[in-house]
Amino acid sequence: MTTFLIARLTFDEALRRKMIWAVLLLSAMFLALYAFGFQILRDDLIEFDQRRGGRPNQVLPYDVQASAMVMLGLYTVNFLAGIMTIFAAVGAIAGEIESGTLHAIIPKPLARWEIIAGKYLGFLAMIAVYLALMVGGVVLISRYIGEYTPPNILRGLLLLILVSTILLSLTMLGSTIFSTMANGVIVFMLYGMAVTGGLVEQIGNALDNDTMVRIGILTSVLVPSDSIWKLASYVVQPSIAVNLIGPNPFGTAAPPSDFAVRYAFVYCATLVVASMLLFRRRDI
């Protein structure tokens, strides 16, 4: 009960932050540009087909082009959601310790872990709403402007929520240990490392370089956000697109297994429990 009360407050508070509105504004601008871009792609294609006398492009079918467009859209959405998650949760605990708002809350009849759980759920709700809106936007634009509907959208959405949840868990844990500022620096470095690590792994695969692959795997053990993103991007592409485009910075032809998803769940749960244990002992 108290957990949901804290969750509600966290959600409401997030909506009051200027940062969130900046992200929402950027997101709206992005969707507008994205719709415009998809329209151009579609127009070009029709014009191209007419010039070829109605014979469709066999080398690069339209579905592959549209799918690549969806992929770009989701990549951006994933990135924006990640940034928003980190910014929103970076001071979840540290900020409240610094400002002193916890002084009147901890003595109330509630356990400290409920504060962590409540905040976690509040941010999770914010992430889920944001991603549902943005993924919905990308898919609707693709469907009605691009006349292309990507497969497995719901599964893709859930995986994208998992990506941001991984970052949320990391940020919350950091927030129970470090100051807001230090936590921001550390989490962004880890996030950057995860993205780069994913790239290094792919390049390593292409060059058959074991060391690079190992570095990639190590980073995805430390921060599994990028491997879940790869899985998300894989499931929302038709197999023809995956095979034609092959490995690229935005997706992969060799997706992580279901084990990666299970690992991500265990990872999040472990970090949340660790946050609760650390916060329990923390002097305010």
């Binding site: 003595p107 009849p109 002097d283």
Partner: protein
Amino acid sequence: MVVERETRREDRTIESLVTVVPAESSPAVETIGLRKVYGGKVAVRDLSLTIAQGEVFGLLGPNGAGKTTTVKMLMGLVRPSAGRAMLLGRPLGDREAKRRIGFLPELFRFHDWLTGEELLDFHGKLYGMSAAERRRRIPEALDLVGLAHRASEPVRSYSKGMQQRAGLAQALLNDPDLIFLDEPTSALDPLGRLEVRSIIQTLRDAGKTVVLNSHLLSEVEMVCDRVAIIHQGQLAALGPIRELIGEDLAVELVVDGERAVAVEVVGRHGTVATVEPVTADRFNIRVAVQDDDAIALMIDDLVRSGVRVYSATPVHATLEQRFFDIVAGDAWERGE
């Protein structure tokens, strides 16, 4: 007239807000060897203290003495390094006990984007109060601290003093039996201080236990039944205020006449402490006496001996003096 009406309104509010505590045998606060060490530095050193239910208890001490750390340990904000404590007969962190405790932190910061009303509603829900209880008590609490007219404005727009009042409303919202007030008047003007004192008196009349943490000695002296003076993390003195101060009575006389005669006569009725000239033939004598009667007899004697008495002012020892004796005396011994 206006003042009178205001007071009456407040009294009604207080009565409906504060319910009388049924008598209970366990102490309100009990600490046994409570200790806190911050990275090698001892903040609170084996504090053992018992506060009975219904007491208004003052925690005194210079800055950094360990008062706030003590309260923070009792409120679950800081983990004790050793020792244990019970609140209302239950161990620290007990949910049932927490429901009956109110706390105004020294650092009173809230989610200031909420309005005063929303803030209290949130804290009421944290206390586990029902919707009906909240609907009834929130306007009363806001009225009690004088914030009713600003209830629908965000706390951010409040002055520092008003935020402290909101904090007090938050601490009293659940009709607690045990209330911790950490420097409750630090941001208030003299009128606000007076109001807080009257609130504490009402709480005392209802049988509530109040632990007041303050560096304003006069404030503590006015409202507290017992005080503990904490110095360097240790209990330096503990007892009823009257006992701590002592019953010593002194009187300061301004007289005119033969100096030797005056001093001799005064000496018959008490112990002369100081004699200081005020003008050429008028001087000031400070003398310790047994009781009020000694003062009257002394003045009679002085007049009969031809000494003119211009004024006689009884001087009670104050908590402040006692406080300085303990705190400064100790600093002196350590050569500070």
